[in-house]
């Protein structure tokens, strides 16, 4: 069956992709989630294909998730992390790209601390590039796995109110989620102190900005908590972890302001007691483990679809 022409060659971000383009990723991922549970994923879907995980930032979970996704579909998966690659010997990003290109890899999964690094690579390699998180720009597979998790719980992915709370300004997860959730017609609220939620974020589309977390949570269907990195305190953006928790920590009292049974999500890794209280993270409303499970399924779908988009007609 010929692939629809709307399949992008790379997945560099969610911005610019329509709901129609995103739904097939979610549908395929959903089926992979079921197959994974029954240990019956099609192990030949990516047979003979090479996936290289090129990680310039440490990330055990995302890298493992992509690795598992590739292996479940029968791909040869190679991990390259900064610590063991020639990056430390002064090789530039594009020289590394040229090298990997010459090795004829099919899919290149890239994480980099600089916004736009995967876009730069995508112009220089023949492989399909998957952005596994670039700087403060985008993290598209995270948004897809969040969307799939939400859709499985509500049976739909539109008309919901989603509060994204915390260090929104530095968050690539938040940006990708904003693009995806607004593309499907959801109401997106952003909450955080002005030092972590610049006013210009209002320009990201149909979003509402709150500095009062309580108000942001009122009547929300989904509450996404974001990791607060310790560096933010050193940089003078927030005074301390405990003051941050005082204003923006997701605890029982605040969660009660959201709709009954509202989903609690977190991209991980969590700082318990900083952005989220332990009892909330471990509560019935938390779907944090399911997010991780859907992460593998979404990455299987992304690798599969991009790989098929590459096949000659």
């Amino acid at each position: 069956m010929p692939e629809r022409p709307s399949v992008p060659r790379h997945l560099l971000g969610i911005e610019g992709l329509s709901a129609e383009q995103l739904v097939p990723f979610l549908d395929l991922a959903e089926s992979y989630a079921l197959l994974s549970r029954s240990r019956s994923a099609p192990r030949d879907a990516l047979r003979g294909r090479t996936v290289i995980n090129l990680f310039y930032e440490d990330s055990t979970r995302t890298r493992t998730s992509f690795e598992l996704a590739g292996k479940r579909l029968g791909a040869d998966v190679i991990n390259m992390s900064v610590a063991t690659s020639s990056v430390n010997k002064g090789e530039t990003l594009l020289d590394t790209a040229a090298t990997l290109n010459a090795m004829r890899c099919d899919l290149l999964v890239v994480r980099h601390a600089q916004s736009g690094a995967p876009a730069l690579l995508s112009r220089k390699v023949e492989a399909s590039v998957v952005n596994a998180g670039d700087g403060t720009h985008e993290h598209p597979t995270q948004a897809l796995l969040d969307a799939l998790t939400i859709r499985r719980h509500f049976g739909r992915l539109e008309g919901l109110t989603v509060a994204i709370c915390g260090d929104v300004g530095h968050s690539r997860v938040a940006r990708s989620n904003i693009h995806l959730l607004t593309a499907f017609g959801n109401r997106v609220r952003l909450a955080g102190p002005p030092t972590l939620l610049p006013g210009a974020m209002a320009g990201l589309g149909n979003v509402e900005l709150y500095s009062d977390m309580d108000r942001a949570l009122e009547g929300a269907d989904v509450v996404m908590s974001l990791r607060l990195q310790k560096e933010r305190m050193g940089a003078g953006l927030v005074p301390s972890a405990r003051e941050y928790f005082h204003f923006f920590g997701l605890d029982r009292r605040r969660l009660a302001l959201a709709k009954p049974g509202a989903l609690v999500m977190h991209p991980g890794p969590m700082n318990r007691g900083v952005e989220i209280a332990s009892d909330v993270a471990d509560s019935d409303q938390s779907v944090i483990s399911e997010q991780v499970e859907m992460g593998v399924a979404v990455r299987m779908a992304v690798l599969d679809r991009l790989s098929r988009a590459r096949m000659p007609a």
Binding site: Q114, S115, G116, A117, L120, H137
Partner: protein, 433 residues
């Protein structure tokens, strides 16, 4: 050297306000009075066919890679790019390695310019040793060696007290101080102007206010010291408002801008295009319009190319890591002509105005002046193509744009130093027949 007679040219001399069709005679490298319509014996006659003949352009802000980074742009490669853009005089920044903070280097650059036979080079002296913002450089000795004014170039003087001292001292030697107006702590690490685009792309940004903050401080210090201050590449509405108001109060301040700031916006960054990474960063549309308005009302005294050469390795990097700056020599004329000003006013901003500002004998068609001339067709357009530009550096932010105004010939002291390709072809054909 035989005489040259330009016939059938539209003479535009912004210094005198002259704009008329006529002829111009060059003898011994200088412009001479043409008493009558006769052609001196043995003279070379150039029929301009109605093209504009104006003074060679004066570019008051150019970075070259010499000494130290000749792989980006040397004096000779920069000179080739300059004359292809009609520029015959340029003031060059001191951010070289080593920086231009001693008299011998000022002398070296002036001589290197003369050696090209194409352009005059007027180096800026460093304001502080090494352009590092600390100790004062030997401003008086640098001035004696020919430094045209003083600046730390791409770096702002951050410390207010140091800036006050530099302004005071520069007044004592009657020198101009040129400031890069950007509050450094706000600008640190930034590569885009703050706003929706920077947020969407996840790029570290500097608020436009960082420019106004620095300008407001320095205007007060200038008023306090009675010094003569110039702000380079001003790019925001608020910064220009402050300068406009200060001028009306008689503060001795001037400013320039560069073509990207009236011809482009932050949207030209597109999909992380590093050739559009500039310092200061490209601004929003409201700021761009304010720059156009300030060009029209005279708040901006001059347009400079802000030529900042980079090689491929400088730019083939993630956006935030790429070197800031774009080439500008060959596009200065075309983009400035497109700013929506009357032709003579646009030309004034790149000829007599910067020459007068810096006190240079250039940028005029007055009798007795050096015959530094630019002959261009204001109607003919060309496409900017990175990779095909004259000179070494190819990092133009205007890649792919069409510019109206094609330089046909450029002369330095009466010597033809640039000829457009098709004209050169014609002349070779003529010589063969």
């Amino acid at each position: 050297m035989s005489d040259i007679v330009f016939e059938n040219v539209r003479l535009i001399d912004p210094a005198s306000g002259r704009d008329e069709t006529g002829r111009l005679v060059v003898r011994q490298g200088r412009i001479v009075a043409c008493e009558d319509g006769s052609v001196p014996e043995g003279a070379r006659v150039i029929d301009g066919a109605g093209a504009v003949l104006c003074p060679g352009l004066v570019d008051m802000r150019v970075a070259l890679g010499e000494p130290g980074s000749e792989y980006r742009e040397s004096v000779s490669s920069g000179a080739r790019a300059a004359v292809a853009g009609g520029i015959t005089t340029m003031a060059v920044l001191p951010n070289t390695s080593p920086p231009i903070d001693n008299p011998a280097l000022v002398h070296l650059l002036r001589v290197r310019g003369e050696e090209t036979g194409m352009v005059s080079i007027h180096p800026y002296g460093a304001l502080t040793r090494g352009c590092e913002g600390g100790e004062m450089a030997e401003l008086g000795l640098l001035q004696n060696a020919g430094a045209v004014a003083f600046t730390d170039g791409t770096r702002a003087i951050s410390d207010a007290k140091q800036m006050r001292n530099l302004l005071s001292y520069s007044r004592f030697i009657d020198a101009i101080v040129v400031q890069h107006p950007e509050e450094p702590s706000l600008a640190k690490g930034a590569c885009a102007t703050a706003g929706a685009r920077a947020v969407r792309m996840g790029l570290p940004s500097v608020p436009a206010e960082a420019e106004a903050i620095m300008i407001a401080r320095d205007l007060r210090l200038t008023a306090m010291t009675g010094a003569r201050l110039h702000f380079a590449h001003v790019s925001t509405a608020e910064g220009l408002d402050l300068i406009r108001e200060a001028k009306s109060r008689g503060i001795r301040v001037t400013c320039d801008t560069a073509p990207p700031y009236f011809a482009m916006t932050e949207d030209d960054i597109g999909d992380f295009r590093t050739y559009a990474k500039l310092s200061p960063p490209l601004r929003n549309e409201a700021d761009r319009k304010a720059v156009c308005a300030a060009l029209a009302d005279g708040t901006i005294d001059a347009v400079a190319s802000d030529h900042a050469p980079a090689d491929a390795d400088d730019k083939r990097l993630p956006f935030a890591q790429a070197r800031a700056g774009g080439t500008g020599l060959v596009t200065l004329l075309g983009v400035t002509l497109g700013a929506g000003l009357p032709l003579i006013d646009a030309l004034r901003l790149v000829t007599s105005a910067p020459a007068a500002l810096l006190g240079l004998k250039a940028g005029t068609l007055a009798v007795g002046s050096d015959a530094d001339l630019c002959l261009f067709d204001p109607e003919d357009s060309w496409t900017v193509v990175a990779g095909n530009l004259p000179g070494r550096a190819q990092n133009t932010p205007f890649d792919g744009k069409d510019l109206k105004g094609r330089v046909l010939r450029t002369f330095k002291r009466g010597v033809e130093v640039f000829t457009a390709d098709e004209l050169a072809g014609d002349e070779r054909a003529g010589a063969a027949s």
